[in-house]
Amino acid sequence: MATKYNLPASISLQRKIVNKLMTVLVIIAVALAIIPLILILGDVFMRGAPALSIGFLARAQNPLHVSSGGIANAIVGTFTMVGIAALISVPIGIGAGIFFSEWSNSKLSTFSGFMNDVLTGFPSIVLGLFVYVIIVLPSKQFSAFAGGIALSFVMLPIIARTTGESLKLVPMTLREASLALGIPRWKTVLRIVISTGKNGLLTGILLAVARATGETAPILLTASTSIYFAKSIFQPTASMTVLIYNYATSPYPSQQTQAWGAALVLILIMLALNLLVKLTVGRKIKGARMYA
C-alpha cells in the first residue's frame, strides 16, 4: 500500500522529465540571447579589421583620399563630449542618488525619483532637440560643448538611479554603527555609505558612459559633424557614431570599410571600459562570516 509519504515511481519519473525539459528550454533561451551578440561581434570584427591600422587611429579624416585618413578626430570628439557629459552628470547624478537613498521617505524624493525614471526613457533625439534650441540656436553654432550637455542629460538619470539603488542596499546597521561612533551624518554618507556601495556606483557610471558613447541622434543635433579636429569645445566636432552613420551610408567602399573599422573601435573601447571596471572594482566585498 502506498502511504502518503511514498511517491509512486511514475510521478517521480514525470518530475524528472519536466525538470530536464525546463533545463533545456532555459539553455535555449540563453543561447538565443547570446548568439546574436556573438554574431554581431564576429561580423563587425571581420568587416572592420581590414580598416584597422595605427594610421587609422592616429590620423584625422582625409576628405581627398579617404583611405589614407583615419578616425582620430572622431575618437577625440567622442571622448571630449562624453568627458564633458561625465563632468556634469557624475557629481549631480551621485548627489541625486544620495538624496534618493538617504532621504527616501520624503515626498520630494518619490516625486523626483519618478521624474528621473521618466527621463531615463526619454527619446534621446528629443534631448538633442532641447539642447539644440537652448544652446545651438542662440549661439548660432554647433559645438562639442552642446554635444556634451546633451549627453549629460542621457547619463544623468542612469547614474542617479543606479547610485540611489546601490546606496539603498547598504544595510542600515552600518549607518547606525557610524553614527554611534559620533560621526556626523554627512561624513557617514560620504565615507561609509558611499565606500560600501562604490561597486554599484562605478557600475552605474560605466553603464551611463557606455550609453552616451553609443548615442548618435543628440550629437547630430548639437555637435553636428566635422572632418577636422575641433580646435575648441565651442566648435562642431566629429564623433564616432556620426562618422559611422555618414560613412556607412556613403557610396564609397573605402568609406564603408572605415565605418566598420570605427564600429569595431567603438566596441573595443566598450570592452576595455568594462574590463577596467571589473579589474579595479570587481573584487567582491567579502561576505561576512556569520558565526564562528
Partner: protein, 268 residues
C-alpha cells in the same frame, strides 16, 4: 567560574542624583505606537547595569534613546529627559553627534565596516573625526583591541578585512571600535545573542574588565548572563520599568510579583 569573582555593589542606597546617566519620564514612540511609557531610571557610574525583560518590552528602544539613535528612525519621537553628568542630552543646545562620542554603542549583530581592515575598523571613529597622527592611531588601536580581548588573536594580521573574522571576533572588533573613541558610557544591545557560548564567555569577560573605566548598560534576553556580568538590573515589561536594584536583590528578593514570575520562567 564566570560569576564567581564578580563584586556586586552592596550599596543599596546608591543616590540616583550622582548617577552617570539617568532618565526622567522618558517616553518614546514609533508613529502611533507608544513603546516607552515614562521611564525613570538611573545608571550608576563604573558599574554594569543589565536591562532585561520579555520581547517587546522596550529595552532596545530605551538604550537607543540614551544615545539619541532612536530619533533617527522615521516617525520616531522621544519625550522626557535623559541626563548625562547632570546635563539633559535632549536639550536643544546639545549636539547629538557630541553625545554619541560620549555614549557608545555595540549592536546586536556585529557590524564591522566591510570595506575596512581590522585596523581601519578599530580606529574608524578617530580617523573620521580627523585624527591623522599615525603613532596615535597605532597606539589607540592596540589599546582598544586589548581591552576588547581581541589583540592576541589579530595582532599579526591587522590588515585583514574586518568581515573575515568569526562572528565572535567581529563583535569584539565592534567593541574595540566603540572603545577607541573613548566614550564614558557603553550601551550594548544583546551583544552575545548571535554568538556561541565560547565567544559569549570572552565578551562577558571583557565587559567585567571594562567597567573599571566605563559605565556599561547591557540589554539582555538571557537572565543567566545578567546574573553573571551585571551589578545592577532593571526589569522592564510592556514599556514600563517594573523593578530596579542590585542584581542580587532583583534575582534573589524581587519586590514585584511580575519580576518574580519572569525570573522563575513563568513567562518570557
Amino acid at each position: 567560574m564566570l560569576g564567581g569573582t564578580i563584586k556586586i555593589s552592596k550599596n543599596k542606597n546608591f543616590d540616583s542624583t550622582t548617577a552617570k546617566l539617568s532618565t526622567k519620564d522618558l517616553k518614546a514612540n514609533f508613529g502611533k505606537v507608544q513603546v516607552l511609557k515614562g521611564i525613570n531610571l538611573s545608571f550608576p557610574e563604573n558599574q554594569v547595569t543589565a536591562i532585561m525583560g520579555p520581547s517587546g518590552c522596550g529595552k532596545t528602544t530605551l538604550i537607543r534613546c540614551l544615545n539619541r539613535i532612536h530619533e533617527l528612525t522615521p516617525n520616531a519621537k522621544v519625550e522626557g529627559e535623559v541626563t548625562l553628568d547632570g546635563v539633559n542630552i535632549y536639550s536643544p543646545q546639545v549636539d547629538p553627534v557630541a553625545i554619541r562620542r560620549r555614549i557608545g554603542m555595540v549592536f546586536q549583530k556585529a557590524n564591522p565596516f566591510p570595506t575596512m581592515s581590522i585596523f581601519e575598523n578599530t580606529i574608524a571613529g578617530l580617523k573620521l573625526a580627523g585624527v591623522r597622527n599615525k603613532e596615535t592611531l597605532d597606539q589607540v588601536a592596540e589599546r582598544s583591541l586589548r581591552m576588547a580581548f581581541l589583540w592576541d588573536e589579530v595582532k599579526d594580521d591587522l590588515k585583514k578585512s574586518g568581515v573575515d573574522l568569526s562572528g565572535g571576533q567581529q563583535q569584539r572588533l565592534c567593541i574595540a571600535r566603540a572603545l577607541a573613541v573613548e566614550p564614558e558610557v557603553i550601551l550594548m544591545d544583546e551583544p552575545c545573542s548571535a554568538l556561541d557560548p565560547i565567544a559569549t564567555a570572552k565578551i562577558e569577560e571583557s565587559i567585567v574588565a571594562l567597567k573599571k573605566e566605563f559605565t556599561i548598560i547591557i540589554v539582555t534576553h538571557n537572565m543567566q548572563q545578567a546574573a553573571r556580568v551585571s551589578d545592577f538590573t532593571a526589569f522592564m515589561y510592556l514599556g514600563q520599568l517594573i523593578e530596579f536594584g542590585t542584581t542580587s536583590e532583583v534575582f534573589e528578593k524581587p519586590k514585584s510579583e511580575l519580576t518574580e514570575k519572569y525570573i522563575t520562567g513563568k513567562f518570557g
